[in-house]
């Protein structure tokens, strides 16, 4: 064969046609049981929910919302309890004139100021503060009897 001549296409064409004919024959001679399984597979596939459906995201979104809710509830339950003094509930009422047992920084400053005030000692000495220190006095208790 002259090497400059293009290859003869006829053998390729005949080969391709023969291969295709056998392939088509094989596809046409599937056993009935196998054809039935393919048919069932196709029907099952077409009956399956489409992956393109907008509802395909419903389950992941619902699961995510549930997880966020559970996380929120968990964080709320693990939060440190609020000190009762901050809420005011359950505390014993104190007299406005008697300083608190745990005075704040401002209260301590005011006490120091009182100690330096000579009028404070004059007031103590005049006996006006005695009813406040006497538990039997009616004036010292605001609670109803």
């Amino acid at each position: 064969m002259n090497s400059r001549m293009p290859p003869d296409p006829t053998p390729d064409r005949a080969f391709d046609d023969a291969a295709r004919a056998h392939y088509r024959e094989a596809a046409a001679t599937l056993p009935p049981a196998l054809q039935g399984r393919l048919r069932d597979a196709r029907r099952a596939a077409l009956a399956a929910p489409s992956a393109a459906s907008p509802w395909r995201l419903a389950m992941p979104l619902a699961a995510m919302a549930t997880a966020v809710l559970a996380l929120g509830v968990g964080l709320r339950m693990q939060a440190p309890p609020v000190p009762p003094a901050a809420t005011g509930a359950g505390t014993v009422p104190t007299h406005p004139a008697i300083p608190s047992a745990a005075p704040s920084g401002d209260a301590e400053a005011s006490l120091l100021t009182l100690e330096d005030d000579p009028d404070f000692y004059l007031w103590l000495g005049a006996g006006e503060a005695d009813p406040m220190l006497d538990p039997s006095s009616e004036d010292c208790c605001d609670e109803p009897s």
């Binding site: 390729d12 291969a19 056998h22 056993p31 009935p32 196998l34 393919l38 077409l46 489409s50």
Partner: protein
């Protein structure tokens, strides 16, 4: 004809308009395609069914696009099945497997038993020669010659360039013709 030449593109006017009709027309050939690639009947059925399910995503696409999409999806399912099989370590249990899963399923509808037997033997020979090819060459021959896809659709289905399709096809045809002298 050039070495990469194949059949003329099929006529789009004859395409089915529903996905059900499309799949019904292609499912038998799809099974044979997968059977050659996987050499196992049950795995081939699984691959075809998976491909059908995944085709639902493309239901709204124009029917003319379904053919290359389907072969692309089926090809990827076959590759997945092959990888999964490696994890299953089939070679450890191959001795206990049912040989019927590897035999070519063939129904004898012909009135001429001799002719039917010849057809089955010829297909078995072709199938065996295709299985001996590298995967890309086999896919190029199956899609371009047996399924009559044009070069562009074959490239789409294989996920490669048109030039690569022509190269794979040329090598596949050369190897097959060496093995299948009687097909000429």
């Amino acid at each position: 004809m050039s070495p990469d030449a194949g059949p003329e593109p099929s006529c789009a006017a004859s395409l089915p308009t529903t996905l059900d009709g499309f799949l019904a027309g292609i499912e038998a050939r799809a099974f044979r395609f997968a059977e050659i690639g996987l050499r196992h009947r049950e795995d081939a059925l699984d691959a075809v069914q998976d491909a059908m399910i995944r085709m639902l995503v493309y239901r709204e696409r124009p029917p003319v696009e379904w053919t290359p999409l389907f072969w692309s999806v089926l090809r990827s399912r076959i590759v997945d099945q092959q990888r999964r099989r490696m994890f299953r370590l089939r070679w450890l249990v191959s001795a206990g497997e049912d040989d019927a899963d590897h035999a070519i399923a063939w129904a004898d509808h012909s009135a001429d038993p001799v002719r039917a037997q010849e057809g089955r033997a010829a297909y078995a020979q072709l199938s065996s020669a295709l299985q001996a090819l590298p995967a890309r060459q086999r896919e190029a021959f199956q899609l371009r010659i047996l399924e009559e896809l044009d070069v562009a659709d074959t490239a789409t289905a294989m996920g490669c360039s048109a030039g690569a399709v022509k190269t794979h096809l040329s090598r596949a045809r050369e190897a097959l013709q060496r093995h299948l002298q009687d097909y000429r």
